[in-house]
């Protein structure tokens, strides 16, 4: 099934989705676009390259409250936070970011103990993937081709969207997506020419080139294991690193968090909050021992986690090449270059 709508009527589609549940879509902010819960359908803005923050916050918000309590009161009176989710529509997600959900699913929703918050949010959500605009130039930081992802990959989306001049074509990919699309009666059906355009667009997406290197999963994993103790290498590639948290916070596949108690005026909340392996105190133990006091150790942890540990643990590289870490790094540290250099080392 393929439907279409004029891009300047996107707010009408947004309004319909808002009636059905919660709509999360890109909005324009001062510094660029970001995903946000839509309260005013006019705010949905698809004129973006990619968002600053990844859409992971739809399933793994920066802060997630676990339980509310009163300090000094019996623990049995504490109240766990119940999510009570309405159907959620995550609208306008780039293919590389859609891929990140599949990677995060392994960690939160398949392996070992299941994370109830991720699972509930994920299950409530229909994903509207959105192909990159092939008529615009690719950002020099992106390298999702290296991870086997293409600019117009519908894989992982429930509904996939491509832009055709001033129109938006929407195609149902999964059963869930097809069902939802059939319920969207206010938008018109696509014609044969639209279908052709859509299919060709997907194909053409393969020719839209980001940075690329031939990256064999096992080779890079093994390589990183081999050079773990090559302090010269890690010191060199991290010499500019400020050890801030930008790369991890904008990353769609970074999932480290802290669990914090926040109390004010006798009321408290226990919640999880994103944390970053780049922070000095991330591994600081109560004894004062810290296995990663040096910047190079922390950057090494981050890169190994994505390209080595994650492969050993879950069988897949935990990076989608969206380029955000490179793009927003205050000192332009480029994970792609580091991996490239590691292979040569």
């Amino acid at each position: 099934m393929l439907k279409k709508t004029a891009i300047n009527k996107i707010s009408e589609l947004a309004a319909v989705l808002m009636e059905k549940g919660t709509l999360i879509a890109p909005v324009k902010e001062v510094s660029g676009h970001n995903f946000a819960q839509i309260l005013d359908p006019q705010k949905v803005d698809l004129d973006f390259y990619n968002t600053i923050m990844s859409p992971k916050s739809a399933f793994f918000p920066h802060k997630e409250d676990f339980i509310n309590y009163k300090v000094g009161k019996p623990i049995s009176e504490a109240e766990p936070v119940v999510l009570n989710l309405k159907p959620m529509f995550l609208f306008g997600v780039r293919p590389c970011d859609v891929k990140s959900f599949q990677i995060m699913d392994i960690h939160f929703n398949a392996a070992g103990i299941i994370d109830p918050y991720w699972r509930q949010r994920r299950e409530a959500t229909t994903i509207f993937g959105y192909a990159f605009d092939l008529s615009k130039s690719v950002d020099s930081a992106d390298f999702y081709n290296t991870l086997g992802i293409y600019a117009a990959d519908p894989d992982g989306s429930d509904i996939f969207m491509v832009k055709k001049d001033n129109e938006l074509l929407l195609k149902g990919i999964t059963l869930q997506g097809k069902k939802l699309l059939s319920e969207l009666t206010t938008i018109e059906n696509g014609k044969a020419a639209d279908k052709k355009y859509f299919e060709e667009y997907i194909k053409k997406g393969r020719d839209y080139k980001t940075r690329f290197m031939c990256l064999d999963q096992e080779t890079i994993t093994k390589k990183l294991e081999d050079i773990f103790h090559n302090t010269d290498f890690w010191t060199r590639v991290s010499s500019a690193c400020l050890s801030c948290g930008v790369c991890t916070f904008v990353c769609p596949t970074c999932y480290c968090f802290d669990i914090c108690d926040d109390t004010q005026f006798g009321r408290g909340t226990r919640r999880r909050v994103w944390d970053a392996c780049m922070f000095t105190d991330f591994t600081l133990e109560a004894s004062g021992h810290n296995p990663r006091t040096q910047v190079y150790q922390r950057l090494r942890q981050k890169i190994n986690h994505k390209y080595s540990y994650h492969v050993r643990k879950y069988g897949v590289i935990s990076c989608v090449g969206c380029g955000r870490c490179t793009r927003y790094c205050p000192v332009s540290i480029d994970i792609y270059s580091i991996i490239e250099e590691a292979i040569k080392t």
Partner: protein, 286 residues
């Protein structure tokens, strides 16, 4: 752990507090479960840990010091932590009295590999405060239902001073038993100390346990481990047969928060118990 949500602690009550050492900064807390159902679900083995949870302060991962053969309660021996990073939870816990309620999440992590240890001679080596899950293991093995499953049990336990030895009553009881060889040592004794003096590594060398069909289970401060391991290598214990429990900063305890990894292993779920052979395959990042 709450039925549906692994992040929500179950309520427990402090039924007993034992001041273990003369410096007053290590206490054993005995908890009873407020809900019978939670108690039934809290099935653990020696070596596992749990998150002690105090609302308003946070959570702290602590090894379980009681043995699963002790029914009706669970015990944790807790040091008031933190000279550099103040231990908010352990300090708060030390300030609580019997009857107070706190939260508990667990049991977490792997355990001493009971099946692997079965029919083997067990050499337990402990130092100072890091004796808690070893005590759990010893009491588990000594239980009348379990004792026959294990071979000879040798315990070498040391502390800096006699006053710093944990579980003094139990140590005395073990010395009287015939089915456990218990060697207690202190770095430096006092007037009333009539036992051994000497560092744990030296005592191990002196006792020289046979590696034949034996497994060494070692926990202690890093410096003790560092000097004890060579002794066991010299005694020809293989890397597979030397086990230890790792410490890393943990938060969630269930392998999700990404904090306690050593290479591709999470200490909270793949550990805390590792054999030296396991550790050999991991990067030195702990």
């Amino acid at each position: 752990m709450s039925a549906s949500n692994p992040y929500i602690p179950i309520p427990v009550q402090i039924s007993k507090i034992i001041n273990e050492v003369d410096t007053n900064d290590i206490k054993t807390f005995r908890f009873t479960f407020l809900n019978k159902e939670d108690e039934k679900k809290f099935k653990y083995l020696p070596g596992q840990f749990a998150e002690l949870s105090i609302y308003g302060k946070g959570e702290s991962p602590i090894g379980i010091a009681s043995s699963p053969t002790n029914s009706g309660y669970v015990e944790f021996t807790v040091q008031r932590a933190g000279t550099i990073v103040p231990g908010l939870v352990t300090s708060a816990l030390h300030d609580l009295d019997e009857g107070a309620q706190i939260g508990l999440r667990g049991p977490l992590g792997n355990s001493w590999p009971i099946e692997y240890l079965t029919k083997k001679n067990i050499v337990v080596v402990g130092g100072g405060f890091a004796f808690t899950t070893l005590r759990s293991l010893i009491n588990y093995m000594l239980h009348k239902d379990n004792r026959a499953r294990f071979g000879e049990i040798t315990v070498i336990y040391g502390a800096r001073t006699p006053g710093l030895l944990l579980y003094k009553d139990e140590l005395a009881a073990w010395e009287k038993r015939k089915d456990i060889k218990s060697i207690i040592t202190v770095d430096k004794g006092d007037e009333s100390w009539r036992g051994r003096e000497g560092f744990v590594p030296a005592v191990c060398k002196d006792v020289a346990p046979s590696p034949k069909n034996a497994v060494a289970v070692i926990c202690g401060p890093p410096i003790m481990i560092k000097f004890t391991l060579p002794v066991f290598f010299e005694l020809s214990f293989s890397q597979e047969n030397i086990l230890t429990s790792l410490e890393m900063r943990m938060k969630c305890g269930i392998g999700k928060c990404g904090r306690c990894n050593v290479g591709s292993k999470y200490v909270c779920t793949d550990g805390p118990i590792f054999s030296l052979a396991d550790l050999d395959g991991l990067p030195r990042d702990f």
